[in-house]
Amino acid sequence: MEVSRRTFIKTTLIGGAGVSVFGFSLAPVYAQTQGLKIARTTETRSTCPYCSVSCGVIIHTLGDKAKNAIPQVVHVEGDPDHPINRGTLCPKGASLEQDIVNERRLLKPQVRRPGSDHWDDISWDDAVNEIARWTKKTRDETFIDKDKNGYTVNRLETIGWIGGCTDTNELNFLAVKTMRSMGVCYFETQARV
């Protein structure tokens, strides 16, 4: 049976149906192919950000790579090839998809005023202005330039910073630069990876 793979592919595609290399009619197979709804996903290996164990994860992203399409994360699972977790994840890591896709995620800043029992929406401009105003007021009132022995310390003990585990390197870099420039000493982040 002298049929090359190239010839086979051609006979399969020309006219839609054709026969397989061993002589099977592919017409019914092709008919079913026409009704298939096919979606493309990408699997990307990454690292869970939640703790210092640094479990390997695989992130499944839906999208056909079209220019105007936004890829959508559809699933996150443990990486079975990762030597640390070998496919397993803790309950927090297993919910990682919800860190990325979550309808309850806050999309705008909110503020709870003194004495209030609820959160109010606030614009980004107003939020940034208020934060700047309160930061400056607090710093101006409580900044310590010298300790009781007269040594220069230039520290601010009334403001603290707590970072989250999913903060990026870039955010953490800016946070350190900003806080240290203001003299903030109480600086911590949950990022461990």
Partner: protein, 262 residues
């Protein structure tokens, strides 16, 4: 290993009534599996004989099982295969030996009879602890570590008891052994960049997907046993033949054609 053949046959019989476009392919494959099982059982039941792993030496014993195998293909196969089966049944021992040895030295997925007939032999070689000898095959992560064959299908299966996700294994198209393979890697060229690896899935075949590579434009079908645990990768792969045609229409070439030629 006899149970392994029974499982494949059972799965094919289960899928045939439900199959749509691939019904004819599965019907033939179910009969082919029975013929292969007969060959395997014949070899396994020989007293005072074990395969050496050198086909030339084992061919004499193996040839005894050929006529029964050819009859089944002639009865159930499509016209071209039936005609070739008839032709082979009339051929002399030397012609048969030449064809088998040629495939043995340099395997090709379009040599149906050689591939289908030698699969149960190689299976028994593996099960009996021998090793194939005299094959000119490539070595490397993507080739079968036992016989050097190309992967036919991949499958995902939980190996860590508390894991939700599946480890990936490849099944050899030549000897039907399976070996571990990394998840996010092309089984043909070793591409690892996520943007170059596409996984195509259709709700009609919930546990089957096309694992394609945009670098080498090859693909392999993957069966997810974490979704359908009783699936048999080699059989379900044939049931998913419509996905093969879709992949080819989109410019991908299969790493190894299966025994129905898709």
């Amino acid at each position: 290993m006899t149970e392994w053949w029974d499982k494949q046959i059972r799965r094919a019989d289960e899928l045939i009534p439900k199959a749509n476009g691939s019904k004819e392919l599965l019907t033939f494959y179910a009969q082919l599996l029975r013929a292969q099982k007969d060959v395997y059982d014949f070899l396994r039941s020989r007293q005072n004989w074990l395969p050496s792993g050198e086909l030339e030496a084992d061919l004499r014993m193996l040839s005894v099982a050929l006529s029964g195998f050819l009859k089944i293909v002639e009865r159930h196969g499509p016209a071209p295969l039936a005609a070739e089966a008839h032709e082979l049944s009339q051929a002399d021992a030397q012609t048969i030996a030449e064809r088998m040895l040629s495939y043995w030295r340099s395997p090709s997925d379009i040599q149906f009879f050689e591939k289908a007939f030698l699969q149960p032999y190689l299976r028994w070689v593996a099960d009996s602890g021998a090793k194939p000898v005299g094959r000119e095959v490539s070595a490397g992560e993507r080739y079968c570590p036992f016989c050097g064959g190309n992967p036919q299908v991949s499958f995902l299966q939980n190996k860590e008891t508390t894991a939700e996700s599946g480890n990936r294994d490849l099944i050899c198209g030549t000897c039907l052994s399976s070996w571990e393979f990394r998840r996010v890697v092309c089984a043909n060229c070793g591409e690892e960049r996520p943007a170059k690896l596409g996984y195509f899935h259709s709700p009609e075949f919930d546990h089957i997907r096309i694992e394609a590579c945009d670098t080498c434009k090859h693909y392999i079908k993957g069966i997810d046993l974490t979704r359908v645990g009783f699936a048999a990768p080699l059989v379900d792969e044939i049931d998913g033949a419509p996905l093969d045609l879709w992949a080819r229409e989109h410019g991908y070439t299969k790493i190894e054609l299966n025994l129905v030629g898709v």
